[in-house]
């Protein structure tokens, strides 16, 4: 690139749409990324996944910026002057596009860097192939701005930019509603995988090919004198799109065994988190141990806690009350992975920690999540999850009461409501008060009986246990 071209590019960068694009993408990007910081704080791969998620707002911005830049010649009525110059039109077009792309890239890079600054000091797992995800995000902005530029050139109206932005927004939204492979045609990712899964680099390379070929086709259509030349990149785009669209949807996610590997805190009882979440282990372990202490002396009580992220799908299902959703599959279509828990570990006496939402932006344990969840409630959930039958209309009222009381006991609640959206009825509170008023040994005996009955799905016994507290 000659110095003259560099200077022309610099002019376009400062005088064109690029600064506005960079600023709006950085502002929108940071606002949206940090609004959901609990999903990625301290973790590299989830940062990349969430960067892809917020593309649902950034891609429309890039498209609008491209369209605005593309309409400039017409808005400024300068076509006449440009038409009398020697340079082939594709060159100024390319410089113009490059300036917008660089603007959007700066915006996205600022966004990612702001996130990375919070991740880098604390991350406990370097992640797998997530940088490809970041590259796809950049390629997505490049494609969006190219398509925007082309549309802005072709349609003579100043409102093309916002309207195209909104259209891109709608298309992006619809894409995330798709469960099949077509969702991957947009650079957006519909939901985060908490860093426990990754996308194959080959697949992401195909995505990059598709996006860049699309960009090239758009640019050739408006830039080249021989428009039919655009069929070449278009053909490449179609060839890349076919395996994407016809391939699996959520099944593209591959389990990452390293990320799910258990990292345990020193000492007893055992508290282990998946490697990807291990940066909060020091915060989590003491609190969880304190709560596990409560179970000492309860027959069949819980004696260890492990991260839900590490469980295989089958194990997760077993850990759920009533052994998980019946009939249909687990919501995530991702591929299963082998168990990482040691053979012979008794999952029945293990608390499953679901740290979703519980990590605050500075990568420490949040006291209470946006939804009102606390670590205490998460640990206490194990008491309810012990219930082994199908959850549904057939469960007697008394069994619900028993489960609720057991949970409150495990959480060490006093009179207040849990505050996580679950509601404790008057009757349950009274039963819980009753339990607390008993001597400690009797409390633990009741809990032991409860666990045995719940695991056996013994409704008669549960009803009786609830009756004892009336």
């Amino acid at each position: 690139m000659s110095r003259l071209v560099a200077r022309v590019l610099k002019m376009e960068l400062w005088r064109g749409t690029a600064p506005v694009a960079a600023l709006s993408i950085a502002v929108a990007g940071i606002a949206t990324l940090f609004n959901m910081s609990e999903y990625w704080a301290g973790r590299w791969a989830p940062l990349a996944e969430n960067l892809r998620m917020i593309l649902i707002v950034l891609v429309p911005l890039a498209a609008a910026a491209g369209a605005w830049q593309g309409g400039r010649e017409r808005r400024r009525r300068i076509g006449e002057l440009l038409g009398s110059t020697a340079r082939s039109p594709w060159q100024p077009l390319l410089v113009s596009w490059t300036s917008v792309v660089l603007g959007t890239f700066v915006g996205l890079a600022v966004t990612w860097t702001a996130g990375a600054a919070l991740v880098a000091p604390v991350a406990t797992y370097e992640g797998r192939h997530w940088w490809w995800s970041v590259v796809v995000a950049f390629a997505g902005l490049a494609a969006a701005s190219a398509v925007g530029l082309a549309v802005g050139r072709l349609i003579p109206n100043r409102l093309v930019a916002p309207i195209l932005g909104i259209v891109f927004y709608v298309v992006g939204g619809v894409a995330t509603y798709q469960s099949g492979g077509t969702q991957w045609l947009m650079p957006t990712v519909s939901n985060s995988r908490d860093g426990a899964s990754y996308l194959e680099p080959q697949f992401q390379l195909i995505q990059i090919t598709w996006l860049l070929a699309l960009a090239a086709a758009a640019l050739v259509v408006v830039g080249a004198r021989r428009r039919w030349l655009s069929t070449v990149p278009l053909a490449v785009a179609v060839v890349a799109a076919i395996p994407i669209a016809t391939g699996p949807g959520d099944g593209r996610w591959q389990p990452d065994p390293q990320a799910r590997e258990l990292v345990c805190a020193d000492g007893e009882p055992q508290v282990c988190l998946a490697r990807v979440n291990a940066f909060v282990l020091d915060d989590v372990a003491p609190k969880v141990r304190e709560m596990l202490e409560r179970w000492e002396g309860v027959s069949g009580g819980f004696e260890r806690a492990i991260d839900r992220t590490s469980l295989s799908r089958d194990e997760r299902r077993r850990a759920m009350p009533g052994n998980g959703p019946q009939g249909d599959e687990m919501p995530d279509g991702e591929q299963d992975h082998a168990s990482v828990t040691e053979p012979g570990v008794d999952l029945e006496r293990t608390v499953v920690l679901d740290l979703d939402n519980l990590i605050s932006w500075n990568a420490t344990l949040a006291r209470r999540s946006e939804h009102g969840k606390t670590l205490e409630l998460v640990v206490a959930e194990a008491a309810r999850e012990a219930y082994g039958c199908e959850v549904g209309a057939g469960v007697p009222e008394a069994a619900w009461t028993a489960m609720s009381v057991a949970r409150l006991w495990a959480a060490g609640m006093s009179d207040e409501q849990p505050g996580d959206g679950t509601w404790v009825s008057q009757e349950e509170t009274q039963a819980f008060e009753h339990l607390r008023s008993l001597p400690e040994a009797e409390q633990k005996a009741w809990m032991g009986d409860y666990l045995a009955a719940a695991r056996d799905c013994d409704h008669a016994a549960l009803t009786e246990l609830a009756g004892e507290l009336r």
Binding site: L4, V5, V8, R72, R77, I78, G79
Partner: protein, 256 residues
């Protein structure tokens, strides 16, 4: 760089016809121009701008042949050679308001495929020639109407064009600027072909070496400014000798 000595005819237009749908804007124009400053006069709608646009390679002729600098404009490959040697200031001058004068001129130097190493000097020189040196780093949107016009002229002359087409360049220039501008035209006209469309007959009288009057899409008069003065000796309509000549030329054409 200057190849003007080897060029046969700078502008060679033969039987040029341009139609917009049913309306005929140019109706068989013949025109041969060499170095010097050529004035293009004519009433509103006569076809001056249309002729300029054809010569600037932005409008297509319906029939007839046009060649610039010995290159036929109908050939795609020749077009590029011609455009490098062309300077054009349209009547409707569009610009990017956020660019500075220097950036705007430099941008066009790039578009005209000038040798990169020659660009910085050429840009400064062009801006100086139109008297905008002290405003070179101002944004275009901050300039007055006349200054904008001068920035447009700077952009047109930055590549030392062999053919310079200026469509009403003096509209909006103050008297002092117009005097300087005529001087500029004379200097450029020494070894280039300058074609100036204008309504200011005095400009033509002072600055031009040749005059062409168009009316209703035809070239109705060709000659020197003195010839035009001579043509008007019989009439009294007009305040100056050359205005009388212009009026006479148009009248004669309408009678025919």
């Amino acid at each position: 760089m200057n190849a003007s000595t080897m060029i046969g005819t700078h502008v060679d237009v033969r039987d040029l016809v341009v139609e917009f749908g049913k309306r005929t804007a140019l109706d068989g124009v013949d025109l041969q121009l060499d170095t010097g400053v050529h004035g293009l006069l004519g009433p509103n709608g006569a076809g001056k701008t249309t002729l300029m646009r054809v010569l600037a390679t932005v409008a297509r002729s319906t029939s007839g042949s046009v060649s610039l600098l010995d290159h036929d404009l109908s050939k795609q490959r020749d077009l590029r050679m011609v455009r490098r040697r062309l300077g054009y200031l349209p009547q409707q001058f569009g610009y990017y308001p956020r660019f500075t004068v220097r950036e705007f001129v430099e941008y066009f130097a790039w578009l005209k495929e000038m040798t990169p190493s020659a660009v910085p000097l050429a840009v400064d020189h062009a801006i100086e020639r139109v008297g905008l040196a002290d405003r070179a780093d101002d944004r275009l949107k901050k300039l007055s109407g006349g200054m904008l016009r001068r920035a447009g002229i700077a952009q047109a002359i930055v590549n030392d064009p062999d053919v310079l087409l200026l469509d009403e360049p003096t509209a909006g220039l103050d008297p002092e600027q117009r005097v300087e501008f005529r001087e500029l035209l004379r200097t450029i006209g020494v070894d280039s072909c300058v074609l100036v469309a204008t309504h200011l007959v005095e400009d033509v009288a002072v600055a031009c070496t040749h005059v062409t009057v168009v009316s209703d899409g035809r070239a109705v008069f060709r000659g020197t400014p003195d010839d035009l003065v001579a043509a008007g000796e019989d009439t009294s309509d007009g305040d100056s000798p050359i205005e009388r000549g212009y009026t006479a030329a148009i009248r004669a054409a309408r009678k025919r």
